[in-house]
């Protein structure tokens, strides 16, 4: 019964909530009304947008020493998680059989493990930085902590099911993934989709005004 629920209706429900929720959030940003900028353009908005999208991948040299931990831990976590999500053999197989109908070459098992270790180390350090640093602690909301802990739990249950020999552990992982998918559109996890548009928007705003930032 539980197996049927998790592999069937709950999975489809989570997927629908995730897709509609993400689209709704993105649409609300795209169609949000903003005042027409009547100022005379001092620079290219498009150029500013592109510049900002890529320049923010590297921290500004003036603040780099203060944010070294979150830059290193951030890259460890996000690159590790990306590799895990899209190149771990069980995930590639799952996507092929359940969603896409086609697959691609997964990474070898050792790379899978190393990616998971990077992701875990990065996530732990990022969350600790959030609670240790007074400024981060003050601006963090409950949602930030829930999102981090939920992501950690999903990764942990995935780690528990690594052996791929137990249906119960696989179901536990899938269940946590479903909870994560349902929570995703209503949380700061949305930055997965919004970080590029927000960088572009800010960059365009700066670019039009000739601000080199």
């Amino acid at each position: 019964m539980i197996e049927y629920l998790i592999d069937g209706p709950l999975w489809y429900f989570a997927l629908v909530v995730f897709c509609i929720g993400v689209l709704w959030q993105l649409a609300s940003i795209v169609f949000a009304r903003s005042k027409t900028d009547l100022s005379v353009a001092r620079g290219s908005a498009t150029g500013g947008a592109w510049r900002n999208v890529f320049s923010r991948f590297v921290p500004h040299h003036e603040i780099a020493p203060q944010i070294r931990i979150q830059v290193v831990a951030g890259y460890l976590f996000h690159l590790g998680l990306f590799a895990l999500l899209f190149f771990a053999a069980p995930h590639v197989l799952f996507l092929e059989e359940n969603l896409l109908g086609f697959g691609w070459t997964p990474m070898p098992h050792w790379a899978f493990i190393v990616s998971a270790q990077f992701a875990f180390l990065g996530l732990i350090m990022l969350w600790l930085r959030r609670v240790v640093n007074p400024v981060s602690r003050l601006i963090s909301t409950l949602d930030d902590h829930v999102a981090a802990i939920l992501t950690f739990v999903v990764m942990l249950t995935g780690c528990f099911a690594l052996l791929e020999g137990s249906t119960a552990l696989r179901l536990l992982h899938r269940f946590t993934v479903e909870i994560w998918l349902i929570y995703f559109p209503f949380s700061t996890l949305m930055h997965t989709f919004t970080f590029l548009p927000s960088r572009a928007f800010t960059g365009a705003w700066f670019g039009r005004r000739g601000i080199d930032a």
Partner: protein, 359 residues
């Protein structure tokens, strides 16, 4: 003539003897085989009681001596079909580490409870002042807590793997325990290398201030202030903290290396190396877990004002003077002490919040 007859009879005799000996040599094995059923006349059906493969399996089990065969599979100990020492190792593991590990941890826990009941929380003369000194950087706090979280995870999963069978099966049953054990094994193996990385970060972050120096021995002789009421002099780190640091680093490295030997059996290490690594790993882990329980006690409910140092990186100046007077002198000389208001501003809280929390 006589000579001829002698030679003739001698030749006949030798030929006859040769034929008889040859016949006997051919017949004897048959006779020896035929003799087997005769030994067991109790079995009228003629079934032999001796398993014809018993000698073979005795060799395979290597009860008498170690025998290595030949196999197409090339690798470590692939020529050994059954290693009866495996059973001895399993018994040894159950009768020693599995039996004594919970006892050691239980005794440490009870000693700390007893100590807390008898001695109570080690306070600071005059209480906390609210004036603070920065002791650890943000990075050092993060490294400490990363190592702590990973270590706790490994300790719990490791204990489940070590003593879960006798302790958890009666509670949860075999099916649930098999899930917990399988999950613990995967989690333990995956987090092990993260522990090593965290340990190396800890090594490089704190090593300079943990070199032993003059005055540390006096701290040891006074039991770190727990023996008697006399004041114990200490620098930035006292001898107890330095010793704990080196225990973590050295035993942590031993545990990590032995763990890597166990988790990567494809580097040519044999069964004996794996068994020794297992013992070293368990022994080191139990020692580190036992002492870390003491460290957690000392860093939280055991000593007033200690936890704040690793929560915010700041410690109360009265705490510094009570436990690290030589460093306190440096703090005053270099004007490192900040007011309660300034500390509250840096932490983004009201001035009295920290004091209330400590109280």
């Amino acid at each position: 003539m006589v000579y001829f007859l002698q030679e003739y009879f001698f030749n006949c005799f030798t030929r006859s003897a040769s034929i008889i000996l040859l016949s006997l040599s051919l017949l004897l094995p048959q006779l020896s085989n035929a003799a087997i059923p005769q030994k067991h006349e109790d079995f009228p059906q003629g079934v032999s009681a001796i398993n014809p493969g018993s000698e073979l399996w005795r060799e395979v089990r290597q009860r008498d001596s170690a025998v290595t065969g030949i196999s197409q599979v090339k690798g470590v100990e692939t020529g050994v079909l059954i290693n009866s020492r495996g059973g001895q190792w399993a018994r040894f593991r159950i009768e020693n580490p599995v039996k004594y590990a919970p006892m050691v941890l239980g005794v440490v826990f009870l000693v700390l409870v007893l100590f807390y009941v008898l001695r109570g929380k080690v306070g600071i003369e005059g209480g906390l002042s609210g004036q603070m000194v920065k002791r650890f950087t943000e990075y050092e706090c993060i490294v400490h807590w990363t190592l702590a979280i990973v270590f706790l995870f490994l300790a719990v999963t490791g204990l489940i793997l070590l003593v879960g069978r006798p302790l958890l099966i009666p509670l949860f049953g075999k099916e649930i325990f098999s899930l917990i054990a399988s999950a613990s094994k995967e989690g333990h193996n995956l987090f092990g290398p993260i522990f090593l990385v965290s340990l190396l970060m800890m090594l490089f972050s704190f090593v300079k201030r943990n070199i032993y120096e003059k005055g540390d021995l006096a701290w040891l002789l006074k039991g770190g202030g727990f023996i008697g009421d006399g004041h114990v002099s200490g620098g930035f780190f006292n001898m107890g903290e330095k010793t704990w640091y080196w225990i973590v680093i050295l035993i942590g490295l031993v545990i990590s290396i032995s763990g890597l030997v166990l988790v990567s059996p494809n580097f040519g290490q044999g069964r004996l190396v794996m068994e020794i690594s297992h013992l070293v790993h368990v022994f080191g882990a139990i020692i580190l877990t036992a002492i870390s329980i003491g460290h957690m006690y000392m860093g939280s409910i055991g000593t007033e004002g200690s936890l704040e140092g690793m929560k915010s990186g700041y410690v109360d100046i009265n705490w510094v003077e009570a436990h690290h007077d030589r460093w306190a002198k440096e703090c005053h000389e270099n004007e490192m002490v900040i007011s309660a208001e300034e500390y509250a501003r840096l932490q983004g809280s009201k001035p009295d919040t920290a004091m209330e929390k400590e109280a």
